[in-house]
């Protein structure tokens, strides 16, 4: 079910039988697709055009004149806002979370899949049950907890509570339980320490699953809004996503807001460009939701 390794082969997914051979019908499909694709892309294109448009003057038609493109909006928004600091916060929030979510989820997934210990079933079902609770429903107690720990406005408060990620545990457990038991038993007979079995056998074998999951965890955190909004209260502790929302509420010219927006979207686009197939295939197969 959660076989992230396997990709649908093109020949398996042949289109349904085609009856229409009328030219009109053959043209409708590509036309509809192209139109929908254009509508989907226009907001991004407009964002980039406005971000590069001359700062003074009308948004349109100035934004459509390639001879007047300028990077002035970028330098202005970079100097007038905290974007560099927000970028660092976002990178820390996302990357540190990816590392620890993957590590802890792989450890827990391995134990749930291949180890016997008291309370295993109850624990696993309890992990699953938390998937049903919307994060917003526990926003207030989570915030009070973080403030009692004196973690508000700190990286601890931002990152640590978000590491409790049941989807990751669930997915990695599924993936690891498909590995043959003999692998681990052979290593145990040889007397390999448990930690070495985990780092030298389990982790390399689940690398594809870790890669896909890592992308999702990155996107979850990079795009996350409500939690960083509540925890990062000072300007210094805001993430890029929260910062972008803040820019919007201040009297910042639209060209600069779009320049800021363009900056925030670059990492997502990089991830998308490099790993699109991984992402789309794993959604189709496992239903991972970013």
């Amino acid at each position: 079910m959660v076989n992230l390794l396997e990709r649908p082969r093109a020949q398996d997914t042949a289109p349904p039988p085609r009856t229409e051979s009328r030219p009109a019908a053959r043209l409708t499909l590509p036309t509809l697709l192209t139109l929908t694709a254009i509508v989907t892309i226009v907001p991004f294109a407009a964002m980039v055009l406005v971000a590069f448009a001359p700062p003074s003057g009308q948004t349109f038609p100035d934004a459509l004149d390639p001879t007047r493109f300028t990077s002035e909006n970028f330098s202005r928004v970079l100097s007038s806002s905290d974007i560099p600091r927000w970028t660092i916060n976002s990178l820390l929030y996302s990357l540190v979370s990816v590392v620890f979510v993957l590590l802890f989820a792989a450890m827990a997934g391995y134990a749930f899949a291949k180890k016997r210990f008291p309370g295993r079933e109850i624990m696993f079902w309890a992990f699953l049950a938390t998937l049903m609770v919307p994060f917003q429903a526990t926003l207030i107690p989570s915030y009070i907890l973080v403030s009692r720990l004196d973690w508000v406005d700190s990286y601890w408060g931002l990152i640590v509570p978000t590491l409790a990620n049941s989807q990751s545990v669930f997915l990695l457990r599924q993936f690891i339980s498909q590995l043959p038991d003999e692998l681990f038993e052979a290593a145990e007979i040889d007397g390999a320490p448990e930690w070495r079995i985990f780092t030298q056998i389990v982790l390399p074998l689940i690398r594809p699953a870790l890669a896909t999951l890592g992308i999702f965890v990155f996107l979850w955190h990079w795009n996350d809004f409500l939690w960083p909004l509540v925890i990062g209260q000072s300007g210094e502790m805001q993430t890029l996503t929260v910062g972008l929302a803040t820019l919007q509420t201040q009297a910042v010219p639209i060209n600069q807001i779009m320049a800021g927006a363009t900056i925030t979207v670059v990492p997502s686009l990089l991830v998308f460009g490099l790993l699109q197939r991984y992402l789309t295939d794993s959604i189709a197969m496992s239903g991972l939701k970013a």
Binding site: M1, V2, P8, A14, P16, P17, R18, T19, L29, P30, L32, I41, P43, F44, A46, Q58, F60, F104, M107, A108, K114, K115, R116, F117, P118, T130, V133, Q136, A137, L139, I140, P141, F170, Q174, S177, D181, F184, E188, I189, W220, D224, F225, L226, T241, V242, Q248, I257, A261, V265, S268, L269, V271, F272, Q276, L279, T280, I283, L288, K289, A290
Partner: protein, 323 residues
């Protein structure tokens, strides 16, 4: 923090210890293997591996759930002082005009957003399924907005809708219509926000539906074609019934997501005009972080949880009937 939206496995009840684990019949054989015996002898090994995640869960997932229930029975305030008030927060909710407003806004938004996004994703999935070449390209284009944040979508679309120099009004201006202030008209604001969210998110459901379409047995469609069924008839009587479980899953995921709407409203309208885009989560956020009425806000959170739970259970029953 992103656990709120379920994976399909939990939502459809297909999850569980059964999948991917050897059948119980292999138990006797496996019990004799040395690795198994060592694992049985040393149960603490498994516990140690679970420990970091377990501690995180106990502290940041379970404790807050218990905390939410307890808090909702108190009048806990910023100072940390509190009194037990039993169900006062809930009776107050029932009488609170803002709660009614937030509920109506959330339901209206859901009623617009869910059909919109399901039709959009079903339509694009069907188109992609039919197309012979360029499927990967178009699929990528439709999926692109999904990897960005809803905040980014909201920022871009707020400008697109802008009455002064927004994109739509620039186009409308060419044919001498408008300007229309989409986000300032109480009748237009929710559909406008729903369009933004649908644009951002339809790529996900599209992929799920596309996978569903590809699982429809080709022989069924060929048999129907031999029987003389046209394109629409094949879609209506073969594809759609086959797609039902997947469609239900998409419906539930999108409905649950719609009930949690907040980010787009926070960025695009601030809940306005005159609270006509003031959702339940916005109400929760304001109660908690504007009025620091933590007990009351916790009660709102539990109402949200109850709604989401009911939606999931209804779906589970509906799909369960299929099997």
């Amino acid at each position: 923090m992103t656990d709120a939206r379920q994976t399909p496995d939990t939502a459809t009840g297909r999850a569980g210890p059964v999948a991917g684990r050897p059948a119980p019949t292999s138990q006797s054989h496996r019990a004799s293997s040395p690795g198994r015996r060592r694992s049985l002898r040393r149960p603490w090994v498994g516990l140690l591996f679970v420990a970091p995640m377990l501690l995180l869960f106990l502290a940041f997932r379970f404790l807050p759930v218990v905390g939410a229930v307890l808090l909702s029975l108190t009048d806990y305030r910023l100072s940390g002082r509190w009194d037990f008030v039993a169900v006062d927060n809930y009776t107050r909710l029932l009488q609170d005009g803002l709660f009614h407003q937030a509920l109506v806004v959330t339901l209206t938004y859901t009623a617009v957003f869910v059909p919109l996004t399901v039709l959009l994703s079903l339509g694009t999935a069907v188109l992609l399924h039919q197309v012979v070449w360029g499927r990967g390209f178009f699929r990528g284009v439709f999926f692109l907005p999904y990897v960005t944040s809803i905040v980014l979508a909201a920022v871009i679309w707020k400008w697109i809708y802008d009455a002064q120099d927004g994109l739509i009004n620039a186009v409308l201006g060419l044919v001498s219509i408008g300007p229309v202030d989409f986000l300032a008209e109480s009748g237009l604001v929710l559909p406008s926000i729903a369009v933004t969210s649908a644009w951002k998110g339809f790529g996900y459901s599209m992929l799920i539906l596309l996978a569903g379409l590809q699982a429809v047995p080709r022989s069924y469609l060929e048999a129907a074609m031999i029987d003389g069924a046209g394109t629409w008839q094949r879609f209506r009587y073969i594809t759609l019934p086959q797609l039902r479980p997947v469609l239900f899953f998409v419906l539930v995921i999108e409905t649950i997501g719609a009930f949690q709407v907040f980010d787009a409203m926070y960025v695009m309208t601030g809940g306005g005009p005159v609270r006509s885009s003031y959702s339940l989560v916005y109400f929760l956020y304001d109660s908690g972080f504007k009025y620091f009425d933590f007990g009351y806000a916790s009660a709102i959170g539990l109402v949200l949880f109850a709604i989401v739970l009911v939606v999931s259970l209804v779906q589970r029953r509906l799909v369960g009937r299929d099997d």
